[in-house]
């Protein structure tokens, strides 16, 4: 089934009776070349690129719940490539380029909206850091520009320019950044993978990983054992539990990050805007809701909901920066389970077990990485060599201390990112 404007028109005129499910609901086979554990954004994107770029289609994606029910459906939908350190920089650049061609590639409307991101700065030190990061982004081949206070005011007049404690001195803007419809990203990759022969198997929790003589041979699942030549983890916040099935302990703590949506309002926020005070980030969805969040709650959690102190802090920051929103009502909030590494950067690497691959540690940055992660992970699984855009996401950097990527300069320790 191919989507087009003509198709929408035809279906609209004939009672919308021609639409079909976007993917099959297959029974698991007894053996696959590759089994991917986790049917979220990264797992589905990996399956898609394995099939499309590497011709490996005897693949199953095993999902314990429903496709896209994890973090790909629990984020603030922001897409950007404004990282600073080598390692992260080229990876997110690669990912943003894939985002830009993704809808055409998948023939699926992911509502990719390159509305631009503005990182505000409030003092000289932050401005210097923004200029330095902007130069780094330009060097990686992406766009960045420094906006003056007046340029920011023109784009976002609703910001509080009278705040004496956190005056807005300007912003670092990346115009190619923006937002995408998160669910549609998962569905688009799912459909693309399914069309190329990948089996997407839902309600199929993995309960064990079979290892013989240091080599992975398959998995145990709620729907029976499945043999596999290669097994690839893409379990986000649950990576620790899945890795434990293979006897591995990861350098990961799972924390909760909250996000919030206001009631639907008329268009006011045209961009993604972040405040350097309190880590706040905001955007406005196409339905009109203001989507925003700030810090982690800073304690280990699998509850998928947070506590009130961080909710209060987030609201305070928002009202301090945009006084007008004090009259808006909060519609809902939720928490995502973040797989936090000590240095705040991810792991895409071989595991110590032959044929078992790791893709985890996305911290709070997994959504923007979705196509990039899928593409480089598929490359690693297919060729056993890291993709050129992901050579530094090594597991052993934590043990050796060599190649740590601490983007914030906070120190490579748990609970600092």
């Amino acid at each position: 089934m191919r989507f087009s404007g003509w198709r929408v028109l035809r279906e609209g005129l004939t009672g919308n009776k021609g639409w079909r499910p976007h993917w099959r609901d297959p029974e698991p086979k007894s053996e696959y070349d590759v089994v991917i554990i986790g049917g979220g954004g990264h797992g589905l994107a990996t399956a898609y690129y394995l099939a499309k770029e590497h011709g490996i289609t005897n693949v199953a994606v095993l999902e314990k719940g429903y496709l896209g029910g994890g973090n790909v459906g629990r984020n603030t939908t922001i897409v950007r490539a404004n990282y600073y350190l080598p390692g992260n920089s080229e990876f997110y650049s690669h990912s943003l380029r894939l985002w830009e061609g993704m809808e055409q590639d998948l023939n699926y409307n992911a509502m990719m909206s390159q509305r631009g991101i503005i990182n505000l700065f409030h003092n000289d030190g932050q401005r210097d850091a923004a200029v330095r990061r902007g130069n780094s982004i330009v060097n990686q081949g992406d766009d960045a520009e420094i906006l003056s206070r007046e340029q920011v005011r023109e784009l976002a007049p609703f910001l509080n320019f009278e705040n004496n404690r956190f005056p807005i001195m300007g912003g670092l803007m990346q115009r190619r950044a923006g937002t995408a419809r998160h669910d549609a990203v998962a569905w688009g990759f799912a459909r693309g993978a399914d069309m190329r022969g990948v089996d997407l198997i839902q309600n199929c929790e993995v309960t064990g990983i079979d290892v013989e003589n240091g080599k992975v041979v398959g998995v145990q699942t709620a729907r029976g054992p499945i043999r596999a030549k290669k097994v690839a983890l893409a379990a986000a916040g649950r990576s620790g539990q899945v890795a434990a099935m293979a006897g591995l302990t990861l350098p990961i703590e799972s924390h909760v990050l909250q996000a919030f949506v206001s009631e639907g309002l008329k268009p006011i926020v045209d961009h993604v805007i972040t405040f350097a005070e309190g880590h706040l980030y905001i955007s406005q969805s196409d339905k009109g809701g203001l989507v925003f969040g700030s810090y982690l709650d800073f304690y280990s959690s699998y509850a998928a909901r947070g506590n009130l102190p961080m909710a209060e802090h987030t609201m305070e920051s928002f009202v301090a920066m945009v006084p007008a929103v004090s009259k808006a009502r909060l519609l809902r909030s939720w928490g995502g389970i973040m797989d936090m590494t000590p240095d705040g950067s991810p792991i895409i690497d071989h595991s110590p077990i032959d044929g078992l691959y790791l893709n985890c540690g996305w911290c709070y940055g997994g959504f923007k990485a979705t196509p990039g992660s899928g593409s480089v992970y598929a490359h690693l699984i297919a060729t056993d060599r890291p993709h050129g855009a992901a050579t530094r996401f090594k597991l052993d950097r934590f043990r050796s201390g060599v190649g740590l990527m601490d983007e914030e300069g906070a120190g490579a320790q748990h609970n600092l990112h």
């Binding site: 990961i252 509850a303 506590n307 000590p342 043990r399 609970n415």
Partner: protein, 89 residues
């Protein structure tokens, strides 16, 4: 989330700083793997976990808190000094 400090009673989460899993520090001359395990590797369970919390805005005690990471329920609180967490492994 409220934590009952053994010295101060039940207090708001905001009074406490979270350190993480309650692990015993390796001896100074311990090998790299022991330090790697202590600094980086985590069991990261979805369920009861022994943690270190610091009562920063109260009595300044380090606490060993047993907390369910799946529900946020506080199961037990003890002074770290009485929990055998000081010193080296």
């Amino acid at each position: 989330m409220r934590i009952t400090c053994p010295l101060c009673g039940e207090r708001d989460r905001r009074e406490f700083y979270y350190k993480g899993a309650a692990l015993v520090r390796p001896a100074e001359g311990a090998d790299l793997d022991a330090w790697h395990e202590y600094v980086n590797l985590r069991e990261n369970p979805a369920g009861p976990l022994d943690e270190l919390w610091y009562h920063e805005m109260g009595c300044n005690s380090w606490l060993k808190v047993t907390r369910d990471t799946a529900t946020h329920e506080i199961l037990a609180v003890q002074l770290a000094s009485e929990a055998g967490l000081g010193g080296e492994k």
